[in-house]
């Protein structure tokens, strides 16, 4: 019994071939079994076969093994892990579904071949004696399966690559296998990829054409965030999901795609543009010419690339037109420059003058309605009145946060309301920057005003001073100091207006002229603001310089105090002397003695007191002021020369054009080569 059980069976080749055909479809036979522990096929030991037959069968069973792999992938859709096999297929996403579809198609093709082979056996099956006439031998099977095996192998590679990825990433994974020198292999991959790409292609065309996203499994490379409100639509709502970007779409194209759909949504939701968008027909016809394959074969057919470029061009120009023509972006830019960057000189000057009284009060006593009526006065009195009413309406007064001890000057600011589509360009951050710039420029301007006030008073004082030669030195010193300060302030203003504002503005205008898309406009504007902020020494890098400038402003205030004291002293002294002389004259006219010893004594004493108390005090004040000022200028120049910005080096050269400060400070003499 046991002998019989272990008896080796001789098997006819025909039987073997039948077995092998089952194996080809992944089905175990009676002789050839699947060994799950080793993941291979093996032949029943009981069966006696020649070594060469065994080897042939093992070789052929490989094909079955490959078939099994692909088949099992198809079953659970390549989702995350084996345990989720049942759930996997529906959640894996559209790309994976179509991938499975493609694989199934390939497998069907393969099964057809097996069926053909089977038929060949059937034909020859009736002749009992020899298989010779059947025309099918194991060797022949090897030959027949040569090609299907290669195809299956390619498919297995693909399934391996597509494991645990979905959507765009899955497409990328498959696309990697396109890079193969074997034309047969490439053809298989191409076929599978074409099908797998279809969902992506559909989403892409929808997005390009309508700006709609229909992507339940987050497979597409464009993501939208439904929580973002419409006013931030351009900046925040849509983004590129980089992990889902198919590797055959490059970054630049992806950005164009994003911008195209975003523009459509922008037009619809923000600009409330209802009319059909022109130029759609051209895009539609271009779209009809593209195929799924043009997605991943950019070198063979450029239709898709053309389509993306075309759509981008069309929608972008549309958005630009909307923003520039209908919403008058340039006018707003100009207005911002005029009012917030102090471009409109007469208006700013007048405004500053009429605000002077109001703003010298403590900040807590200010009322916006007072200020805005003054603003209206200033508008009416200057050329600003010819501005578009829309723009004037947006112009407003704003008080910044008050901290204790602030004067009106510290908290006053102009404001410009932006909303709607242009708010996309003038974002909240941009407006913050504008306010910051206004603040700095306003301060600079005010210093200029103070200095010119000082100068005016000096002109009056110097006239009076002719009667007081003892104060000539002080007056002269004050005048010199004022001139130095005026020089600095003027140079700074020159620098700001011409080197910074004008240059940046020019840059902005040229880029705007050549801009093709809203993004370029936004970037140009941002760049414009950044440049001005850096130029106005408001960025982090020049913080130190800015603080220095602030101390300089304090010095100007001090000088004003000094000037006031000086003119007060001069006035009172001159007045005292004049009354004295007039009294003398009056008495002499009356025929009396003009003066007498006692009174003379009082007068002398008064003059002596003036000489001893008031004059030295003024002199020392002046000396202190001059000294601190000069120290400050020197370190200021030093800072400028050490700054990274070349323009500031030029500014420092201009400030010290005749090397007046240069000679005083060895540090400015450092070697630069």
């Amino acid at each position: 019994q046991s002998y019989f059980k272990n008896a080796v069976m001789e098997v006819a080749e025909k039987v073997l071939i039948r077995e092998v055909l089952f194996i080809f479809q992944g089905i175990e036979g009676s002789i050839i079994k699947f060994d799950a522990s080793k993941d291979t096929y093996r032949i029943d030991n009981k069966v006696r076969l020649s070594a060469s037959q065994k080897e042939l069968i093992l070789k052929l069973s490989d094909v079955g093994w490959l078939y099994n792999k692909v088949q099992s992938f198809c079953e659970w859709g390549g989702s995350v892990a084996g345990s989720e096999r049942t759930a996997g297929r529906s959640t894996a996403g559209l790309v994976n579904q179509s991938l499975v579809l493609a694989l199934r198609e390939e497998l069907t093709e393969y099964c057809r071949l097996i069926a053909l082979l089977e038929a060949q056996i059937q034909e020859g099956g009736d002749t009992p004696l020899c298989e010779a006439s059947s025309g099918l031998t194991l060797r022949r099977l090897v030959m027949w399966t040569l090609e299907p095996r290669a195809r299956l192998l390619a498919l297995v590679y693909l399934t391996h690559a597509a494991r645990q990825v979905y959507g765009g990433a899955c497409v990328s994974a498959i696309y990697q296998h396109m890079q193969h020198g074997n034309p047969g292999h490439r053809a298989v991959v191409r076929h599978v990829l074409t099908l797998a790409c279809t969902p992506v292609y559909v989403m892409l065309t929808q997005w390009l054409l309508d700006g709609t996203l229909d992507d339940p499994h987050h497979e597409f490379f464009i993501a939208s965030d439904p929580t973002v409100p419409d006013d931030k639509l351009w900046q925040d709502k849509y983004s590129i999901r980089w992990s889902m970007l198919p590797s055959f779409i490059n970054k630049c194209q992806a950005e164009k795609v994003l911008a195209s759909g975003k523009s459509l949504n922008f037009l619809r939701n923000v600009c409330h543009f209802r009319a059909p968008i022109a130029g759609r027909d051209a895009i539609k016809t271009a779209l009809q010419q593209t195929t799924v394959e043009s997605l991943f074969t950019p070198e063979e057919n450029t239709q898709l690339d053309d389509l993306v470029a075309l759509t981008f061009r069309e929608t972008s120009s549309h958005v630009l037109e909307e923003i520039l023509a209908r919403h008058k972006l340039l006018d707003h830019l100009r207005a911002l420059r005029r009012y917030l960057l102090l471009g409109q000189g007469d208006f700013i000057n007048y405004l500053m003058q009429i605000l002077n009284v109001e703003l010298c009060k403590p900040a807590s006593n200010l009322y916006p309605h007072n200020l805005s009526s003054l603003l209206e006065t200033a508008v009416a009195a200057s050329n600003a009145q010819y501005e578009e009413p829309d723009i004037l309406q947006r112009l407003d007064v704003r008080l910044l946060e008050v901290s204790p001890g602030d004067l009106g000057w510290d908290v006053f600011s102009l404001d410009y309301h932006v909303d709607g589509p242009i708010g996309t360009v003038f974002t909240a951050e941009c407006m913050q920057q504008y306010l910051m710039l206004f603040n700095a420029l306003w301060k600079d301007k005010r210093m200029e005003m103070i200095l010119s006030d000082i100068w005016r008073e000096q002109a009056a004082t110097s006239k009076l001073c002719r009667e007081l030669p003892e104060l000539g030195v002080v007056l002269h010193g004050v005048q010199l100091l004022t001139t130095e300060m005026v020089h600095l302030v003027h140079q700074m203003e020159y620098y700001m207006t011409f080197e910074v504002l004008e240059c940046s503005w020019h840059g902005l205008m040229t880029t705007l002229k050549t801009a093709h898309s809203l993004d370029q406009v936004i970037d140009a504007h941002k760049h414009f603001l950044d440049r001005i902020i850096a130029g106005a020494l408001l960025d982090d890098q020049s913080k130190q310089v800015r603080t220095h400038l602030r101390t300089f402003y304090n010095l100007i205030q001090n000088l004003r105090g000094l000037q006031e004291r000086l003119s007060l002293a001069v006035c009172s002294e001159v007045h005292a002397r004049r009354t004295h002389q007039e009294a003398v004259k009056a008495r002499t006219d009356a025929g009396d003695f003009g003066t007498w010893a006692e009174q003379e004594e009082i007068e002398k004493k008064r003059r002596k007191e003036f000489m001893l108390k008031v004059v030295p005090k003024l002199k020392s004040d002046l000396r202190i002021n001059t000294q601190t000022y000069q120290d400050m200028v020197q370190s200021f120049l030093l800072m400028l020369t050490q700054h990274d910005d070349d323009n500031l080096h030029l500014l420092s050269t201009r400030l010290d054009f005749n090397e007046y400060y240069h000679r005083r400070d060895y540090r400015l003499n450092q070697r630069l080569t």
Partner: protein, 661 residues
């Protein structure tokens, strides 16, 4: 059991069965296989020793074929892996195709065998032809595997083999088929590179490599000059031998296309054809030539039309070759104070703003490219710079290297202009070219400066008109020398400006009107510059040294006169009343006492200057005429006629020689 026991017909039958197995790579019953140690070698077969010897020998004739087969199979399986590259994969695919034919043969033989119609002799006859092909294939694959060739190298091996098989008819056809199939991916990469300038080469098989790929974000303006030189490079081992001659052209074609693309122009080559490898007719060579011409022409168009290359060059000429007279004069007088300082004390920003001022206040203001001019201070003199360049790769290379002469250098000697060029104009005006322009500029500028100094001496000499006759005789020698110096320097300038630069420029312009592609532009421009450098005597160290010595003498003479001016004015005009007030009395209370000694030494110094100057100018002229004798169609000889227009020096020299002899 052993096979030897059965009849020879059975033996034969069994052996054929085994041979058919072995031919499919499966070990037989009586034929055993030993696998080789190296994967690319052929396996060893042993036939059962008991077999009849004649049969055994016949079998062993057939067995190599089985070895070839297994070699090929192993090659195909090995090289189909991704990392072996596209060319190897394509080659494997082609070999697989051939193997399919072979398998068909085997199955046909099997069929015959099943019908008992096959004998070993017949078998041998059937496989003999296939054997030669398989032998060749195995041999080729072995070479490829052994050298671990990859990409272009594989194609080289295949091509060489194909060529060496010329005349072998069918074998060559097979090889051509193989090479053609293997070359397909490579040719695709090549086509993409030639037609669009894109490299899509995942396994580094192509001969051109892009060093910057992947980092596309930092394509900013501040690309270094040699960026394009270094970005694309050729990998020599990846050039297939049949493309060797075109390698450079291929590199440049793609590079030009990239240049055009970078300037925001999409380029599509109009005549895109599939590139196919072939041994005999070199259709691909024509395509390469055509695309190269296209790319080159397109780039030239871009440069000439959109980037206004000629306008740029003209602007460069305005500034560097002192073409714009008023600008140069303006610049020189504005910067004189700043530049007369030591070079380390010159403030570059101040210089920059002065330059700006000069640009905007002269006629250069209308130049569109004036903003690209900048200042450039170089810490060595022109002569050292030239000598260093000239001495590179000669024996005295080291001699000029470690010299520290920075300290004595004035700003004027180190001053030169710079020019900011953006891509793609920097293709023509690269750093080297600008350096050449700078050298010429420095030379001309310095000469101009010397002329200015001498002219100033001339102005101050005009005072001598009011000197008494007796006194003025003291100064005639000095005046005469000044005149000669002025003559010298002005003529040298004239020569350089008109006979060298203008003439070369005209030539250059004429050539540029007929220019066809970018390489010609580069070549012409190079010719122009080297012509200018050579004829301005900058390339001959000997002449350059002489010229610079002469200018040094002139400068020290001018300085000396300037210094002495105060003294002689006082000395000669102290007595004349009307001048007395104009001279500052406080500075020299007793001028008359010191004058005598001064004038004594004054005359001596002048004569010393005179001696130096004449000596130098003689040697210079002699040297030039010597050179002229060697090479008489040089423009250089004209200098002599200019310098010695009325044979003054010639006569004097004759005189001198007579006196000494």
């Amino acid at each position: 059991g052993a096979l030897g026991d059965v009849s020879s017909t059975s033996q034969e039958h069994q052996l054929i069965e085994d041979v058919l197995s072995v031919m499919m790579g499966i070990e037989g019953r009586y034929i055993t296989v030993q696998l080789p140690t190296k994967h690319y070698d052929s396996p060893e077969f042993t036939v059962d020793p008991s077999v009849e010897p004649s049969l055994s020998t016949l079998v062993s004739r057939i067995l190599p074929l089985c070895g070839y087969y297994s070699q090929l199979i192993r090659f195909v399986e090995n090289k189909s892996c991704y990392h072996h590259g596209l060319v190897n994969q394509a080659l494997s695919a082609a070999i697989t195709n051939l193997i399919k034919d072979y398998m068909l043969l085997v199955t046909q033989l099997e069929e015959q065998h099943q019908h008992w119609a096959l004998t070993l002799h017949k078998l041998y006859f059937y496989v003999e032809k296939t054997m030669a092909v398989m032998d060749m294939l195995a041999c080729v694959t072995r070479v490829i595997s052994k050298s671990e060739a990859h990409g272009g190298a594989v194609l080289s091996i295949l091509h060489d083999r194909t060529v060496s098989l010329t005349g072998c008819g069918q074998l060559q056809d097979v090889m051509v088929f193989l090479t053609q199939s293997a070359a397909v991916p490579y040719m695709n990469i090549l086509a993409k590179w030639l037609y669009r300038g894109i490299i899509n080469d995942p396994y580094n098989e192509f001969m051109v490599v892009d060093r910057e790929s992947g980092s596309e974000e930092n394509e900013d303006e501040d690309l270094a000059d040699d960026y394009w030189e270094k970005r694309y490079t050729i990998i020599p081992q990846n050039i297939p031998t049949f493309l060797q001659v075109h390698a450079n052209v291929i590199l440049r074609t793609g590079k030009y296309l990239n240049v055009i693309r970078q300037s925001d122009h999409s380029v599509v080559c109009p005549h895109q054809e599939e590139l196919v490898y072939s041994v005999r007719d070199r259709s691909y060579a024509e395509v390469i030539e055509r695309t190269y011409n296209f790319a080159s022409k397109r780039l030239l168009e871009l440069l000439m039309k959109e980037k206004d290359l000629m306008g740029r060059l003209r602007s460069v000429k305005h500034y560097f070759l002192l073409d714009q007279g008023d600008f140069v004069v303006q610049l020189m007088s504005l910067c004189e104070d700043e530049l007369s300082k030591n070079i380390d004390d010159v403030v570059p920003t101040r210089l920059e703003s002065l330059l700006e001022l000069a640009l905007r206040t002269s006629a250069a203001n209308s130049d569109f490219y004036k903003d690209d001019i900048e200042c450039d201070l170089q810490p060595i003199t022109l002569m050292t710079q030239m000598l260093r360049i000239l001495s590179i790769e000669t024996e005295d290379e080291r001699e000029y290297y470690p010299q520290e002469e920075r300290l004595q250098l004035t700003g004027l000697q180190g001053f030169s202009l710079g020019y900011r060029v953006t891509w793609p104009v920097s293709l023509v005006l690269d750093r080297k070219t600008i350096a050449c322009y700078q050298m010429i500029f420095r030379h001309l500028f310095y000469c101009k400066h010397v002329e200015k100094l001498l002219c100033r001496v001339w102005v101050s000499n005009k005072v001598a008109k009011s000197f008494p006759l007796s006194a003025s005789r003291t100064y005639t020698a000095a005046f005469a020398l000044r005149q000669r110096m002025l003559n010298f320097i002005q003529n040298i300038e004239y020569y350089m400006m008109f006979e060298v630069i203008e003439r070369n420029w005209q030539n250059f312009i004429n050539k540029m009107q007929k220019v066809e592609n970018v390489d010609e532009v580069l070549a012409f421009h190079n010719d122009f510059l080297s012509g200018c450098l050579k004829d301005c005597m900058l390339t001959s160290p000997e002449l350059l040294r002489m010229i610079s010595k002469l200018t040094t003498i002139c400068v020290s003479f001018a300085n000396f006169i300037e210094r002495m001016k105060k003294y002689y004015l006082e000395a000669e005009l102290w007595m004349s009343d009307e001048r007395r007030d104009s001279i500052d009395r406080e500075e020299s209370p007793e001028p008359a006492a010191t004058i005598h000694e001064d004038s004594q030494s004054f005359e001596q110094t002048i004569s010393r200057f005179e001696l130096q100057f004449s000596g130098m100018i003689y040697t210079l002229m002699e040297r030039i005429s010597e050179m002229g004798r060697d090479n008489y169609n040089d423009a250089l000889v004209n200098v002599i006629y200019r310098l010695d227009f009325n044979m003054y020096y010639a006569k004097k020299h004759e005189h001198l020689r007579m006196a000494t002899s």
